[in-house]
Amino acid sequence: MKVSLTVNGSSHEHEVEPRLLLVDYLRKVVGLTGTNIGCDTSSCGACTVLVDGESVKSCTMLAAQARGRAITTIEGLSSGGELHPVQRAFHEHHGLQCGFCTPGMVLAAVSLIAEQPHPTEEDVRLGLEGNLCRCTGYHNIVKAVLAAAEGVPA
């Protein structure tokens, strides 16, 4: 079947199998490999992308279901060589180690801050519950997200 959608602002149109997952579409068809696959039960959140600005685990969605939607992957978050404030906060607070959960974690955090511009620590911890990290113990991820949110104008 035919799908057309935008990814990071560019239009794409492809003939795909109906069963193709959005994450496989992004990685194999569009060639954007920044979105990682960490599980097969929609538990880990490594494949989180933004669909029309909201975080979605791209392994829970078929490419066909994304027809006409605007997808943002980690490759589309920074602009003009400048890191997005959430990316910068992850760097400044050592919120990543191996980096595999990072694209999904960052996009989940972007979505969280969009919904709750001034979250408490508890808000951040609950808000990121769907994204697993095995390296950082979450301590510095939470710090990074709180710091990024502080930078959001009141």
Binding site: D24, L83, H91, C98, F100, P103, R125, R134
Partner: protein
């Protein structure tokens, strides 16, 4: 002279940018033209003979290139799967990447499918029909020990080995015979799924024109992989290039030689096309090695004052269906540490390994030391309860004292340095220990539904396994050294080549800081190269918290050699005596003649042009060091967990966590803290959430992240960290490893807190993980408060 400008600072990581923007490439992100996708057909039974395999339907499916069984593939292997850490006299299982006759765990491969897409290969794998003759599963460790059902009948027993460390049996007998108090405990180390966020992955690319193979793997040990691919496939080692690109965590489970690695390499060679395999998460649950898996019996003898006079330990350790690279020795990496941080005198340890029809066990973060620390720290709390002494006070009474270092341990090790009481004191203060005890008393008095538990864990661990001669006495096939080359390029920029293979630990940042200080250059002028056998041909990779004390030291020493050579060149050029030269800020100056200087870049260019070097000197400014340390290093510290338990529901909440660690001098405290944070959560997760649960038929019932509870941010508080600094005398920078300390300390801290909270119900132990159900049951069994 070295000035410290970067070492000790919280320099932000240079590794981050590509990982934050999606530009970092993990194995599954790489593409090789014409690549085939491999899917394994895996046994759904824990123990069975293969009667027949029908591959016809699979072979006829679109996109399928080959379907091969274990029998078809036997000719590919130069030998069985390797075990590089054997025990003399052990009963060793033999196995191959694909089982030819009998399967020994759920997930054991029986056939492989190669197709031109991942979806096509998975579809075809589903169409392979395997007829099994089921055999009885062997799940329980004591049942395995009874030999009621043999996992490997050809061995005649399920016992793989019995290993003892009992240097003075009479002393142990005496200690227990004359003890005023004896504590006898049994603890269970449940099996764990290591679960790095990146599952495993392999891409084997044949290079037919040279008979070569370029091999990408999500591994911690590219150098090991290169050697074993050569030995087991007969490809000359020099024709194999192994690259570990970005690797998404390892935690020990990527310290392995896996059948899927051998398969991709063999099939790429056989078919002349690139072969890729990407592990699925539920596949990883049974196809990747698991951690822990022990029953621990520990006894402490103590005098009337609670001074521990003897420790006796026996382990029953679960090998799983086969012995993998290090399987039999993993429990023994703790063998020397079951007396912990205490000066206990008499000491005896033994371990019996048994086969079961479960996924093989092997290294998982801490590998042997978390198990040891768990047993002694839980037992010390049990002794404290028996004596009615505060657990902090009992620890204090028994610590090895600072003046006893270097300490000759009863297990035969030489502990390099330690100040255990100082770390304890700092942790008690930071946690607000007396206030916590007061709150606990208050809640107990009020019979509050929510009870407070405070758990201590004072640990010591051994890491940076070395020297090589000692590893030989432990029958480890490899050595304990690490290699580094430091190269000042003609333009004055620096390349550092390291034999370590980071997968999240930040070596590029840390190594550049070490070299920047020594050479007096900016870290930005230094590139750190690693994890590619064509670029860093010599190395023993990253595991066991070895990278800084061994690999970082190699970098440091190679840099010293570079400076020594540069000094000789500068003395020649400046017509000065070498001893009159002072090296500072990246240049040599002649003492007393401040205008007579020569910068490192200029020296490097002279070394490159070689127009005017001292007679007999080789051109180029570079040096290689291979460092074989004289001893392990022994990090230590005290962690304190505070839990709240809802006694109506059994729900445990980790309210606060304090960690005071001592890893000697710190190169980058930001990275040190990150390692500790992650370790705490991984160890606490063993205490509260994670367990690989097998049913009696050998089915892993926690095979997905929906069932196996890798915790999220919501389950944890932020942590309070501090440190003490007791430099190691083992290496010139005075450093110790910190990669595993958090995991080693946190499991017993959390479980001691859980048991402490339930003291009013006389609860002595709860099996891990301390789920609400188990905690609630323990409360009910303990009777009314």
């Amino acid at each position: 002279m070295t000035t410290t400008q970067f070492v000790g600072t919280r320099l932000l990581r240079r590794e981050d940018a590509p990982l934050l923007t999606g530009e970092g490439r993990y194995v599954d992100d790489l593409v090789a033209p014409g690549e085939l996708h491999m899917t394994l057909v895996r046994s759904p039974l824990a123990h069975a003979r293969i009667r027949s395999i029908d591959t016809a339907a699979a072979r006829a499916m679109p996109g399928v290139v080959a379907v091969l069984t274990g029998a078809d593939l036997l000719g590919e292997w130069g030998g069985p799967m390797p075990c590089a850490f054997a025990i003399p006299g052990m009963h060793a299982s033999t196995h191959y990447p694909v089982a030819p006759e009998t399967v020994h765990y759920i997930g054991d491969p029986v056939a492989v499918v190669l197709a031109d897409s991942a979806y096509a290969s998975k579809d075809a794998a589903d169409a392979v029909v395997v007829d099994y003759d089921p055999l009885e599963a062997v799940i329980d460790l004591e049942d395995a020990l009874s030999d009621r059902v043999l996992v490997h009948p050809e061995l005649g027993t399920n016992t793989s080995h019995v290993w003892e460390l009992n240097p003075n049996p009479e002393a142990v007998e005496r200690a227990f015979a004359s003890a005023a108090h004896v504590v006898k405990e049994r603890y269970v180390q449940q099996r764990l799924l290591p679960s790095p966020m990146e599952p495993r992955g392999v891409l084997a690319v044949p290079q037919p024109h040279g008979g070569e193979l370029t091999f990408y793997s999500a591994t911690q040990v590219p150098h090991f992989v290169q050697i074993f691919l050569s030995l087991l496939l007969g490809i000359p080692q020099q024709k194999i290039r192994v690259i570990a690109p970005k690797v998404g965590g390892g935690f020990g489970c990527k310290l392995e030689i896996y059948g899927e690695e051998l398969l991709c390499a063999a099939l790429a060679r056989k078919l002349g096309r690139p072969v890729r395999w990407t592990e699925e998460r539920s596949e990883a649950a049974t196809a990747t090695i698991q951690g822990r898996g022990q029953i621990q019996d520990i006894e402490l003898a103590a005098d009337a004052d609670g001074r521990i006079t003897g420790v006796r330990v026996h382990l029953l350790a679960d090998m799983g269906g086969y012995l993998m690279l290090l399987t039999p020795q993993i429990p023994l990496l703790g063998a020397f540490l079951y007396h912990g941080v205490y000066d206990t005198g008499a000491y005896a340890f033994s371990c019996t390994g048994v086969y079961t029809t479960k996924t093989p066990t092997d290294a998982y973060r801490g590998a042997g030391r978390p198990e040891a620390t768990y047993a002694i720290e839980r037992a010390v709390d049990a002794l404290a309860r028996k004596l009615g002494v505060d657990p902090a006070e009992l620890r204090r009474r028994n610590f090895i004292k600072p003046e006893q270092f270097p300490y000759q341990s009863p297990g035969g090790l030489l502990f390099d340095s330690g100040a255990y009481e100082a770390a304890l004191d700092k942790a008690l203060t930071l946690a607000g220990y007396s206030a916590l005890r007061a709150e606990q008393q208050d809640r107990r008095a009020r019979k509050d539904v929510v009870q407070l538990g405070i758990g201590l864990s004072s640990y010591v661990e051994m890491c940076g396994l070395a020297p090589s001669r000692v590893l030989a006495s432990l029958n480890y096939v490899a050595g304990g050294w690490e290699s580094s080359t430091v190269r000042v390029l003609p333009t004055g920029k620096v390349q550092v080549v390291s034999g370590t293979s980071p997968h999240g630990q930040g070596h590029e940042t840390s190594w550049s800081m070490i070299v920047a200080d020594q050479l007096g250059v900016s870290p930005d002028d230094i590139e750190v190269l690693h994890s590619d056998t064509a670029i860093a041909p010599n190395g023993l990779d990253t595991y066991g918290s070895r990278s800084l004390p061994v690999g970082g030291t190699a970098v440091y020493l190679a840099t010293e050699k570079v400076i020594a050579k540069a000094r000789t060149i500068a003395a020649h050029q400046l017509e000065a005596a070498e001893e009159d030269l002072v090296y500072e800020g990246g240049a040599f100056a002649v003492r007393g003649s401040p205008t007579s200087t020569m910068a490192l870049g200029a020296i490097a260019f002279e070394a490159f042009s070689a127009h005017n070097l001292p007679d007999g000197m080789e051109p180029l400014l570079e040096a290689t060091t291979t460092w074989d340390p004289p001893n392990f290093v022994f990090p230590f510290g005290t962690h304190i967990a505070v839990v709240e338990i809802d006694t109506d529901t059994g729900d445990v909440t980790l309210r606060a966590y304090t960690a005071v660690d001592d890893c000697g001098n710190q190169v980058n405290p930001l990275i040190v803290e990150g390692q500790v944070h992650g370790g705490i959560v991984q160890g606490a997760a063993q205490a509260l959430f994670e367990e690989a649960v097998y049913d009696p038929d050998g089915n892993l019932v926690t095979a997905t992240f929906a069932d196996y509870l890798v915790p999220s941010a919501a389950e944890f508080p932020s942590f309070a960290l501090d440190h003490t600094v007791t430099p190691s005398p083992t290496n010139p920078m005075g450093v110790k490893g910190i990669g595993e300390a958090g995991t080693i300390a946190s499991t017993p801290a959390v479980m001691n807190a859980v048991v402490d909270a339930l003291a009013p119900w006389n609860v002595r132990d709860i099996d891990m993980p301390a789920s609400p159900w188990r905690v609630w049951k323990a409360i009910q069994a303990g009777g009314a408060q």
